[in-house]
């Protein structure tokens, strides 16, 4: 069964239609890249899948492992395995990163009817994942994303991805605000999480990211639709010729 099936999705924001009949199918083990110019609806798609308020779905459907995703509240989607790595992760002052991770992980486990992690088990798990991502312990004691550099924020997103073990990871413009070294660390973290039963949707404006996270499929979005799909070579083609050719196609 597919992990994600988006069928003819139409979405409005305040009377304006942003997505006009978008379709996308993602199977386990696959990494899909979604590329497109600013304003093509890439981030809207990621927000609608995660359930952010403020978007009105006027047509089509989204199935997650065969279930109607649009009927679930965002926290339920999360506990079922939908993870969105944010383009701009928010800061939560006064809430230690460690506390946040534990609260979130246990909330998801509780929703799935699983037992909560004990403190020692949890610490062990976090520490080993953090070490693999080069995240120092003191970062975990600081407020969530408070005073984090761009690279630290993105690594914190990947840390959560590794910890929560979602079956669908959506990475929204993961490369924005990262220098090349930070990008490499983040991409390594993501690549380590690729697995036969997990799918990823990588949203990006630039081809650069795809040198590090090599996709199985590339989709080009323009004006709220997928206008072209292909293999990883499509990204290189775009790099050479730009998005303009697709603006007309849409």
């Amino acid at each position: 069964m597919s992990i994600l099936e988006v069928k003819n999705l139409q979405v409005r924001v305040e009377e304006r239609e942003i997505l006009h009949g978008l379709s996308l199918t993602v199977n386990p083990g696959e990494v899909h890249a979604i590329m497109g110019p600013n304003g093509s609806g890439k981030s809207t798609l990621s927000h609608v899948i995660a359930g952010k308020p403020g978007y009105e779905v006027t047509g089509g459907e989204i199935l997650f492992k065969g279930e109607n995703l649009l009927e679930m509240s965002p926290d339920v989607r999360s506990s079922k395995g939908v993870f969105l790595a944010f383009q701009y992760p928010v800061e939560i002052p006064g809430v230690a990163t460690m506390t946040f991770l534990r609260t979130a992980l246990n909330a998801q486990r509780k929703a799935r009817g699983e037992s909560e992690f004990s403190t020692p088990d949890f610490l062990k798990k976090v520490r080993s994942v953090a070490a693999s991502l080069n995240i120092p312990q003191d970062m975990l004691r600081r407020g969530v994303n408070v005073g984090f550099s761009g690279g630290e924020k993105k690594r914190n997103e990947i840390l959560q991805m590794a910890l929560f073990e979602p079956s669908l990871c959506i990475l929204d413009e993961m490369d924005s605000g990262l220098d090349i070294d930070a990008l490499r660390v983040a991409a390594d973290g993501v690549n380590a999480l690729r697995s036969p039963d997990r799918a990823m949707v990588v949203i990006t404006h630039y081809q650069r990211l795809l040198n590090y996270i090599v996709p199985d499929f590339v989709h080009v979005m323009s004006k709220g639709k997928v206008v072209k799909s292909g293999g990883k070579e499509l990204a290189l083609e775009l790099e050479a010729s730009g998005y303009a050719q697709f603006e007309d196609a849409a």
């Binding site: 926290d75 992760p89 928010v90 809430v95 609260t103 998801q108």
Partner: protein, 493 residues
């Protein structure tokens, strides 16, 4: 469970003198006729077996009160109080008899559960009457606390600390009470304090002798004691030279109380090098979802740093009451003395909070610090009102104030009203204030990671108030944290 057996044994041992401490005794006691007159004051004084000077003190306050008018400067709105329609001595009435837990309001039961209060204790708090054979167990929560208090009393006595109901202190330590009572909050201070002076029912008295560091937090005892005092509590705490005491007032079990008006007075005195840390967790009944009922909490709390190098610290977590009118203050009289005020005030539903502090710098090189966190949700109004003043001789006075307000939803209000007066040119006062709305993006981030909307609000708010929570004694910080989440339930749609 071993603990239960131990409790039962302990209850047996103290069976003989159980009445002395009072739960049952007080339940049986009577009340004064409705309304307020000199006779009411005399009635209360007689009930307490007070000496003549105490009665005179009360009567003087009563006569003064008659000439005063109710203050109206606070940003709170409530129907006029008919002072003749109240009971002024209603030592806890027997609770309405309830047959079993099933008859308790499910909402209350749910709240207790969340606070982690064992159901046996809930039965006691809510006045469930168990069949005769089980009765001892049903009240063991109370007896347990009494026995603990008794153990404490022995230890406190060894340290020389006096800790008893103020009504007892008036009889047993009249010289101390007379020396200090009304010296921080004079009988003429304000309308509600004057009323309290005339009709106060009970409260706590603490005296820590010179050089003594009180060996424990004075808290558990009071939590029971609190239940048994009426609407007009009076507390007096004195830390003599070099003494230290930490005191926690509060009841983290929400109380349904039919008494509308609570007007308490708390006076603290620190001598040279002494320190008092006073923490409050207040969770009175806030009224129902339509704003009916709930407690009017008009409280006067003030500390006097009388000696040099002394320190008074107020920490409050205010989540209850329909109306809160409360300004725990410090008079920084001694040179180098220090005052602190840490506050979390949460208003939800129709609650109205007007709270803050006064830091009155009189001595040289006195310092004060104010950290106030106001959280408004529902259709509530939350006002911080604070006064920082340096008098002419307060050379080198310093204050730092940070007032942060957090709004949840778009129908509530947060207001900050600071008054700053520096009459000495060397005074240095800093004031910072922020008002922010709880961000949709932050909430969405949290729910994307699996938290429910309410858990997300609770988490963000607990982060917002962390600086203040850290000031509370450990075990109460945990309770306060839970309380904050509970009091904000239903605040997001």
């Amino acid at each position: 469970m071993a603990a239960v057996q131990e409790t039962v044994d302990r209850v047996r041992r103290i069976d003989v003198d159980q009445y002395r401490y009072g739960f049952e005794t007080l339940i049986e006691s009577d009340k004064a006729p409705k309304g307020l007159s000199e006779d009411t004051v005399r009635f209360i004084s007689a009930k307490k077996n007070e000496p003549a000077w105490m009665l005179e003190w009360r009567l003087e306050a009563y006569r003064r009160w008659l000439t005063m008018t109710e203050p109206n400067w606070a940003r709170v709105d409530y129907p006029k109080i008919d002072y003749q329609d109240l009971y002024y001595y209603s030592a806890p009435k027997p609770k309405k008899t309830i047959g079993s837990l099933d008859e308790i309001d499910p909402d209350i039961l749910e709240t207790y559960k969340k606070l982690g209060i064992p159901l046996r204790e809930v039965e006691v708090l809510e006045g469930v009457v168990r069949p005769e054979g089980e009765r001892r167990i049903a009240v063991d929560a109370v007896f347990d606390s009494v026995s603990v208090a008794t153990t404490f009393q022995k230890e406190l006595k060894q340290a020389g600390v006096i800790f008893m109901p103020i009504s007892e202190a008036i009889r047993e330590h009249p010289e101390l009470v007379r020396k200090y009572l009304g010296t921080v909050v004079p009988t003429s201070d304000n309308y509600f304090a004057t009323l309290n002076s005339a009709v106060f029912s009970d409260g706590s008295f603490v005296y820590v002798p010179p050089g003594v560091r009180c060996p424990m937090e004075l808290s558990t005892y009071f939590r029971i004691n609190e239940r048994n005092t009426g609407q007009f509590e009076r507390t007096l705490i004195i830390a003599d030279k070099g003494a230290y005491v930490s005191y926690l007032e509060g009841c983290t079990a929400p109380q349904r109380d039919e008494n509308q008006l609570h007007a308490a007075v708390v006076e603290l005195v620190t001598h040279v090098d002494a320190e008092i840390k006073y923490s409050t967790v207040q969770n009175w009944y806030p009224g129902n979802s339509e704003g009916k009922g709930g407690i009017y909490n008009f409280v006067t709390k003030r500390g006097d740093c009388r000696g040099n190098n002394s320190k008074i610290s107020w920490t409050q977590v205010e989540t209850g009451s329909a109306i809160t009118w409360k300004y725990p203050s410090c008079i920084l009289r001694g040179d180098n003395s220090r005052g602190e005020f840490y506050s979390i005030a949460i208003s939800n539903g129709h609650q109205q909070v007007d709270s803050g502090t006064k830091m009155i710098h009189l001595g040289k090189n006195t310092t004060s610090r104010i950290i106030s966190k106001g959280i408004a949700a529902g259709v509530s109004q939350n006002t911080y009102r604070g006064l920082v003043t340096a008098h002419r001789k307060a050379t080198g006075a310093r204050n730092f104030t940070a007032c942060d307000s957090l709004l949840i939803g778009d129908k509530c209000g947060a207001h900050t009203v600071p008054y700053i007066e520096a009459k000495n040119s060397s005074a240095l006062f800093e004031h910072e204030a922020t008002t922010s709305k709880i961000s949709e993006d932050v909430l969405f981030y949290c729910v994307q990671r699996g938290l429910s909307q309410e858990e997300a609000v609770g988490l963000v708010v607990n982060g917002f108030v962390k600086d203040v929570l850290q000031q509370l004694p450990m075990e109460f910080a945990v309770e306060a944290q839970k309380l904050i989440s509970i009091s904000l339930e239903g605040s997001v749609g």
